[in-house]
Amino acid sequence: MSITYLEAIREAQARALAEDSRVYIYGQDVGSFGGAFKATKNLAQEFPGRVLDAPISEDAIVGSAVGAAIEGMRPIIEMQFADFSTPGFNQIINQAATLYWRTQVPCPITIRLPSGGTSGSGPFHSQSMEALYAHYPGLVVMTPATVEDAYSMLLEAVAIDDPVIFCEHKYLYYHLKADKLPTEAMPARKARIAREGRDVTIVAYSAMVHEALAAAEELQSEGTEVEVVDLRTIKPLDTDTVIASVARTGRLLCVGEAFPWGGVTAEVIARVASEGFALLDAPPKRLNAKDTPIPYHPNLWAAHRPTAQSIAKVARNLVRL
């Protein structure tokens, strides 16, 4: 018996629907079809009238979720791909994210973004949008990297009284398996030490945690001990856990699958540089995707984003500094 990352997301939604009558799911093809990735498989049948197909109207999908939240509901919105959240961007950052601050009325909506690259998905079905949303006040942004987190963090997202952008990684949907669903959960706002090591800290999130862990394994055979920090949630960012790790290792590499300008890796380095500069024994490094749209062909795609090999290469150089 094992459960995939995708099944964990489905199970979390089933539990949220079962336990809270205020929860409903709204998105394209999420009803009897079960969603483009089957993240809502059978939920329309199990919860009649609470899993609704939407027209291809991301703006109106999010806008309606805000209206329903004002009336006390807790909608879960599925964007078919994270890339398609851009037509709904206005409603997310200007309507959902400002509501509480302007009116003191909370806006408890969860927006699921099937994120990140898979081979052959190309420029418009591969994007990692987390930094864009994290830039705006009034949003929480989660980036789970494990089956357990996909489950428990999604349940926490639904329970939070604020809009949560839930970035679930499509590559992990089928590749990642666990024996069972978790019965205990770390709070979403805490980062996790995914692997202990004393020579260099690699901070990663989402699918890059697994590339970082593979790089750590590679460097282990060369005698370098890598500590891997899984951010889990990028906003709020658990700076304390990152700085505590850098205090142990003195070296920092941040890895993200998103584009290089600005973003999560830049934010982590900025915070470590301003709050923990004296802990660094070498300049902090960062590794991101290339500064081009995401390519279609598998050969190009594999070279576009960070991999265990490219991470290991940067980390190897970093420990020599």
């Binding site: 109207s57 109106a60 209206g67 929480v140 009284d161 604020d162």
Partner: protein, 338 residues
Amino acid sequence: MNRPAAAEVNPKREEFVKAYKLMVLARTLDEKLGSLYRAGKIPGGGVYLGKGQEAVSVALGLALRKGDVFAPLIRDGAGRLAFGETVVEALRTCLGSSLGPMRGRDGNVHRGRPRDGYLPMISHLGAMISVVNGALMAKRFKGVSGVVGGTCLGEGASSTGAFHEALNQAAVEKLPLVVVLTDNQYAYSTPNWKQFACASLVERAEGYGIAGQPVDGTDLMGCLKIIGNAVQNARTGQGPQLVVAKLLRLCGHGEHDDAAYVDPKLKQSPMGRDCLAVAEQIMSKENWAFPANFRTWKEESAHQVDEAVNQVQKEPPPDPFREDWRGLASKHLAEGYE
């Protein structure tokens, strides 16, 4: 698509006079805001008035009731008062009192009380329609029936993707939504011929598969009837309703705008009539009220607005040192920047 109304709304003296008095109050408040703007007494500086659009706006505000949802736009002072906002509440947001519902965090026309079904607009046009849709979907989830969501916008907003998505969404979900679209000939400075190419925006209704009605926006009687019917039709399960009111905006986009671009011929046309004067003619003709009444009601409004301004101007402004500067409802998830 012009469908026959379920039950004809036929306003009598009492309702007409009530609507007219609210229009006068809204006009008086607007004129006071214009004076305060010119005197530099508006924190933040922006004033957007509804001069000429009071009849359309008040007709929707009056047709809605407690339990309904209302998302007004920038020229809906009359509708806001009709839906239950007080002059003091309006002024608190316009004058930046910390006692108002927005507490200085937002200003002028960006005000509301979402818990009471009164939604505070964002600046992005067309964006409030789907929020009303969602509130109506929530009411349906909760088993509440017989409620209506009403929203106002201008012809410029009808060019947005948000407008299209939301009207289509309401049609697909068969929601009790009433969209009152005031075609006031100019979106800021852009004339209609650069905004849309169909003969009338009411034609859009057919494309969405919803009911559509035109109305003369300068005629309070017509507005009360047509908009009242639309609200009643939505309330009785006949799906979304679009009403397109034609008139001319009798002020600039905001008080900073002298509207020199307005075609003088439009001002002389029937569209350029002042809805207040038209309403007064109707009342005189029907023997419902007379110039002496109009004067008295205007004086009462002036007194009410002056008293409210005096009160609100003495209220404390927001204090940056007492702000919590927290954008999230969840305290434990705040970033805590220094």
